[in-house]
């Protein structure tokens, strides 16, 4: 009973900021500072932000970047995790060390060099300019998790497939990958959410050509004032796809991370 009450209390604690965000998004601009007292609610904030072209473009860009980064990262991460799990020798060791070193670098320290690199490669403020850094980060962070998934899959299945007529690559693709689907789904969910919510790279590596939702959201705080109601409405809009992905993936995330 105590644990149930404690669990409910923790859930309420986490849910409260979201509740406050939704409440703020439904208040008129003049009412955001007395949300707890006011009784006036409106959906005009949503109309207003959705009528702004930059918000719509940012929504589309964020969705595309998140989806592309997830698909491309998973392709590399799955093979990288498989190699770390199944192979021994100088190449996997070197790859493991490289990933480890990159993981040790503070996230923020990457931003400035990446800015110059994207400028140099003429991919600043483009899809590739944001996708490549995201993929690099995902490879470093998620290869370890993917290795754990493959460690939990009995390699005998792949040996059986190799005897049954598959090459090593065929055994990976046709036997190990399908067996790793819960893990891959968990990783895809985490990857997508991570990219969707990411702010720092988007802020530094994009400008007007490729607006990203998290950055556009922050731009409601400007020199003329703070439009909390519009920012909250945009945040609620941003919350919806994240919520759908989370609801879809939570079963796999829990199962996948348990392997």
């Amino acid at each position: 009973m105590f644990f149930a009450l404690a669990a409910i209390a923790v859930c309420l604690l986490f849910a409260f900021p979201v509740f406050w965000l939704v409440l703020t998004s439904l208040r008129p601009g003049t009412g955001v500072y007395y949300v707890h007292r006011g009784t006036e609610f409106t959906i005009d904030n949503f109309h207003e932000v959705l009528s702004q072209e930059i918000v719509l473009r940012a929504l589309f860009n964020s969705f595309m970047i998140s989806t592309l980064a997830t698909v491309l990262s998973l392709g590399v991460t799955a093979t990288s995790g498989y190699m770390l799990s199944r192979f021994k020798g100088p190449i996997p060791n070197a790859w493991f060390s490289l990933i480890y070193i990159f993981r040790c670098v503070p996230y923020v320290a990457w931003v400035l060099p990446l800015y110059f690199v994207t400028q140099e490669l003429h991919i600043f403020d483009s899809y590739w300019g944001l996708l490549l850094p995201h993929i690099a980060v995902h490879i470093c962070f998620f290869s370890w998790i993917m290795k754990g998934f493959f460690d939990g899959i009995d390699p005998s299945m792949e040996y059986a497939a190799m005897i049954d007529g598959c090459s090593r690559w065929g055994a990976f693709w046709r036997v190990a990958m399908p067996a790793a689907i819960p893990g891959l789904t968990a990783l895809a969910t985490l990857c997508w959410l991570y990219t969707w919510n990411e702010f720092l790279f988007a802020l530094i590596l994009t400008a007007h050509e490729t607006p990203i939702l998290t950055v556009v959201m922050a731009q409601f705080v400007h020199e003329l004032g703070m439009e909390w109601h519009l920012m909250s409405a945009t945040a609620v809009i941003a919350l919806v796809p994240a919520l759908i992905v989370t609801l879809f993936g939570q079963r796999y995330v829990i199962r996948g991370l348990r392997i």
């Binding site: 299945m157 040996y159 059986a160 190799m162 005897i163 399908p178 067996a179």
Partner: protein, 362 residues
């Protein structure tokens, strides 16, 4: 023809030698069992034959063709793994068909092969189930079916019965023997269980520390073990060993330790002559020690004290203190009451004595 020939096969992992200089010739349709304790190199040898491990030195030939550098898929073999290794995302039917589809066998032939294998192994009602919906025994049958459908040159079994409970294991042993009659194929079976080795193998290869200790039929290994390791590994309960000193006594050799002395005629045991003044290890199987006084001069008397009795229903096993040592006696009448501490007399036929120096049987 699918004979298998291993010539001077070595396997080294870094500085660790896993398998040393294996020479083995397996005839077409012969069923050979590799047996030994964990880490003896038996599974590594099997995996080298399968192509799942590279060979450090030597050659492996299947059906007269050296396969050292062939991929597993090109060796025309099938393998059953300890944990079945069924493709868990596929139905039983797809598991069986997987190897045939990879080889682009026409669909109607695949269906016929699956139907035949399912009939042989009585898994027809399971064909549309997933592996996780099957019991251990059923999964093992499916794994066998996956081998049968391919009709390969060689079957390889890597401890396939280890994960089954004792009752099911005994049943699967029988089924494997029946399967051999219905699908005669050259087979190599790896196990650490000497009962499986004795019951299944045409020949047994006993391994220890990566080295083949002896190759022979089950009876050869039981009756004439090459060394003390084979003698202790084959047979249940394990062979008794007693270290005795040897001295000349006229036309006899006198052997003895603290609490046990006996004489053997020199003309029947001439090899003991080289051990006079030294120690020798004498082995005798628990089944060859019989309660009661010797009835003729070919039997050696033993007098000892009962330490422990183990009731098995159809027989009793005794652990008897003999001087400083201990020997086990099998095949004792289960109705005989032998409380701990009681004195017993037993006899061993001299024909059943095995003599070992430090390395081999003499």
């Amino acid at each position: 023809m699918a004979d298998i020939v291993l010539s001077n096969v070595h396997k080294v992992y870094g500085h660790v030698v896993a398998v040393t200089d294996i020479n083995l010739s397996i005839k077409d349709r012969e069923f050979v069992v590799l047996v030994g304790p964990s880490g003896c190199g038996k599974s590594t040898t099997l995996r080298m034959i399968a192509g799942l491990e590279e060979i450090s030195a030597g050659t492996i030939a299947i059906g007269g063709r050296v396969v050292n550098h062939l991929q597993p898929k090109d060796r025309d073999i099938a393998m059953v793994f300890q944990n079945y290794a069924l493709y868990r995302h596929m139905s039983v039917r797809d598991n069986l068909a997987f190897g045939l589809r990879n080889r682009r066998v026409p669909a109607h032939e695949i269906a016929a092969a699956i139907s035949r294998a399912a009939r042989i192994l009585s898994i027809e009602p399971l064909l549309d189930r997933r592996p996780h919906q099957l019991s251990g025994g059923q999964q093992q049958r499916v794994a066998l079916g996956r081998c049968i459908v391919r009709n390969p040159k060689v079957f390889l079994f890597d401890e396939p019965l280890s994960n089954l409970d004792a009752q099911l294991r005994a049943q699967m042993r029988l089924e494997l023997k029946e399967l051999r009659l219905r699908v005669p194929t050259t087979s190599i079976f790896v196990t650490h269980d000497q009962t499986e080795a004795m019951t299944l193998g045409d020949r047994i290869v006993v391994m220890k520390d990566g080295v083949v200790q002896q190759v022979g039929t089950p009876l050869e290994l039981y009756r004439k073990p090459a060394n003390r390791f084979v003698a202790s590994f084959i047979g249940s309960p394990s062979m008794n060993f007693v270290t005795l000193s040897v001295s000349a006594d006229g036309e006899h050799f006198a052997l003895g330790c603290n609490g046990w002395q006996f004489r053997l005629p020199a003309r029947r045991f001439p090899l003991l002559g080289s051990h006079v003044g030294r120690s020798i290890c004498v082995g005798v199987r628990p089944q060859h020690v019989r309660l009661g006084a010797p009835v003729n001069e070919n039997q050696i008397p033993i007098k000892g004290t009962v330490m422990v009795t183990e009731q098995l229903g159809d027989e009793q096993l005794l652990a008897v203190r003999l001087g400083d040592g201990e020997i086990r006696i099998a095949g004792v009448d289960p109705d005989l009451s032998l409380p701990t501490g009681s004195h017993i007399e037993a006899a061993i036929a001299t024909d059943h004595l095995h003599f070992f120096d430090e390395l081999e049987q003499i």
